[in-house]
Symmetry: C2
Subunit: 292 residues, 2 copies
């Protein structure tokens, strides 16, 4: 493995990622936890919420990549900022798609399948916007969240990962959110992502999100989907109606659009941008002096 | 100005910077506030504590650069993360020196003068370490700082910018430091940088720093110098003695060495690393699709 590693930096509604192109799986070996954490370090590294390794399913022996061969050419090898591997990220896969479209010459005139550890996801492109089909949400009933002495009823929604969606009068009500909101451990034995949602107009909401393990973040793709599902149900605009329905969801890092289709699937749409590209030199690398 | 801008990313004890090489002053024009802020944005940009534009004194009409012509070939055009211009940064100028040494072929066998808005500073190089002469500190008497209900006596030290150095029993005593420590506005009409210092051994201290306008940071070069001066005075190891004296100062982002010379000057020494280089594409740039 060369010490110098080509990278791209991008973000979707300010959920940001370092992308590591490794199409034939030969450049990065097993992509160590140490390297991932060094890249994601926001002071000593490049800084990111996670790393997206770009590798062909044919070139990677992860069981999820092997299983997707024939169905998807590309595999999103997603790693959290701490170096652990992860399954899916709604904003990450949209940035991943932007990279494929701009730099790997994939055909984006129709749907683009991308393999992940949570199965193959389908992307669609329209100008600067990239959509991802996030699948069928599970609505699991009522629950409750609290911050300090304040409590709200919430809806338990799963998008593969667990969410609690609480409607609030104003986004300030949740306070500084320096600690995870309290929740029912019977509903959420492995913790929960909490969305605080206000209505901004017809089919238009805004939210703050506290992600388990990360704290409050600028955006969360599955969180935006959960917030939309809760809002649509509260509004009596159920899934499965002809033509489906669509909501605008404002997050701290920008604006997302979430559709709930006739087939009961949620589709997340938003900007996905590449802002820089370069070469990682390693945390301790120093160039040798040129003789001149 | 081209939309694509070459950059380097580096840090000194995790005080991190985007460096923009512009030797003949022609590439970046006036380096707008907007561009600087976009580069330093830790989610939508590259992320940094500030931008260091690398320009020759001959090629830049800033009065400080004009005044330094003949004395220093290079000017450190330092900008804060919000886009405002700034005078000096002890960690920034050391990273600036690392870039000059590795990529502009400057002679580092002896002292290297670098012009700044706070006058010309002298760098010295030894392996991975870079030193900067920070000048003569001013010791301005006793003061006091408080966090919550707790107060400590402190020493007022100026390194061009104002510091209050408080010795504490443990670095935890200052708490979460989410708010600026309280201080005497008579001593510090424009705010203050506060160092909380513990002793770790003979001529070895550790500190936390709260920087005015930034909050708690991983490192502060002038803060490390102020902490050393206060510790040396408390230890009765005054300036001006034969050979001077030197302290190790541990900060959250690493280890610095501060010497107080026979001439009464403080010299800050520590690692200065370049970790990446690349090309900024702009916050809204998207590559055109290749025809293939």
């Amino acid at each position: 493995m060369s010490e110098r590693i080509a990278f791209w930096k991008g973000h979707g509604t300010e959920n940001d990622f370092v992308l590591l192109p490794d199409p034939d799986g030969s450049r990065l070996g097993d992509l160590s936890r140490e390297l991932t954490a060094a890249l994601c370090d926001r002071r000593a590294g490049l800084g990111a919420d996670g790393v997206l390794r770009v590798v062909r399913t044919e070139a990677y022996d992860d069981p999820a990549a092997v299983a997707a061969r024939g169905e998807a050419e590309w595999f999103m090898d997603y790693r959290n900022a701490d170096g652990s591997s992860s399954e899916m990220c709604g904003n990450g896969i949209r940035v991943f798609g932007r990279y494929l479209a701009d730099h790997e010459h994939v055909d984006i005139s129709g749907p683009l399948p991308v393999a992940t550890r949570a199965g193959t996801k389908v992307l669609r492109f329209a100008g600067d916007l990239v959509s991802v089909d996030m699948g069928v949400p599970e609505v699991l009933g009522d629950t409750k969240v609290s911050v300090g002495s304040r409590s709200w009823p919430a809806l338990h929604v799963s998008l593969g990962n667990p969410h609690a969606v609480a409607f609030v009068d104003s986004l300030d009500q949740a306070g500084a959110l320096l600690e995870p909101p309290e929740h029912d451990p019977g509903d959420y034995p492995a913790g929960v992502n909490v969305e605080f949602v206000v209505r901004h107009g017809d089919r238009h909401v805004a939210m703050r999100v506290h992600e388990r393990g990360s704290g409050e973040t600028r955006s969360c793709g599955t969180g935006a989907c959960a917030a939309m599902v809760a809002a649509a149900l509260a509004d009596g605009v159920h899934e499965g109606g002809p033509g489906g329905t669509s909501y605008r969801v404002d997050v701290a890092g920008g604006r997302l659009e979430v559709a709930w289709t006739e087939q009961g699937r949620v589709v997340l749409t938003g900007p996905a941008l590449l802002v820089a590209r370069g070469e990682w030199l390693g945390p301790r690398t120093r160039a040798r002096r040129s003789p001149g």
